[in-house]
Symmetry: C2
Amino acid sequence: MGHTRWLSDDEMRAWRAFTNAHALLYRRLDHGLKEEVGLSGLQYEILARLSGAPSREMRMAELAGDLVNSKSGLTYQVAQLEKAGLVRRRSCTSDERAVFAGITDEGMALLERAAPGHVTRVKELLIDVLTPDQLQALADGLGEAGRRMADGAGCSRPDRATEAEPCE
Amino acid sequence: MGHTRWLSDDEMRAWRAFTNAHALLYRRLDHGLKEEVGLSGLQYEILARLSGAPSREMRMAELAGDLVNSKSGLTYQVAQLEKAGLVRRRSCTSDERAVFAGITDEGMALLERAAPGHVTRVKELLIDVLTPDQLQALADGLGEAGRRMADGAGCSRPDRATEAEPCE
DNA sequence: GTCTGGTTGTTCGAATTGGAACGACCATCG
DNA sequence: CGATGGTCGTTCCAATTCGAACAACCAGAC
């Protein structure tokens, strides 16, 4: 490691734009959700993933991996959602360790009530601002970056375990 | 508002890539900083901004605006940094309300020790993964999105006040 | 002057986060 | 079977986050 390669002006601009846009956007989305349906951004994401899962449920570990949140953090949030009746938990019969979190009908109803506003905001504040080329570049470039980081490349993260079959 | 315009597959891919890459990346950077110099990502950002400011100091409000963090959150972190001797605070003589936070020599030293590893990680994990075109698209597209959100467009945020002259 | 409206940074309390430690569990080997 | 190593989700605790309320302050109208 001779001397450090600093960021060029262009690189710095891109990097700042990336973090700045994310912070600004996430803040808006969070507030919007909180106001409209009382959910946090993370809670919305949890419900969204569950609603899209095969049988409307997922393993805790899989969820945590998808959301890039710590296990303990997920436990906490799922507990909140369960208290609110939006999610139900059941333990897997074939693997006593595993816990499945599934979205309830009530959760689906709330999600459907939350989605329009949320999606509209994402479109207005990000998607519609980008040209089709920029959108594509974003999907390609950041998709690749995400993929590389997800595979333990360069650091921790040994996961990518079993693909979570419906269990029974 | 007729019916909601949902996200197309491409749009969804881009959106997911964006949030996913950010989460993954920020987590790595955070851990890296914590291990190498004991700073959090936010603390590093604070020091970095201060080090680049005209006289190595900024108003609290300006800092908070740049970092997109709540005022109270910034107060907390700056207090931490001050306790560690990396930052010093002084109140402005011409405007008794304002508080300037400035980075100390000790802070500069730590920042210089932290920067190489941090910057290298940013390059390796993000910049170097992108093609020049993608980098440019990211800077342009997300830059524009950030700019629009920063101007109260569509929502709260009335700020963008005085440009914080050196005060004396 | 004095009043009013808006700004600034801090304080407070409640909610959330994340890591480490833990107990329960599976799978493999002998 | 008994032991071992690894996985899973939870619990615990300290650190952090955010918004609302607050006190001090500035600026302009009157």
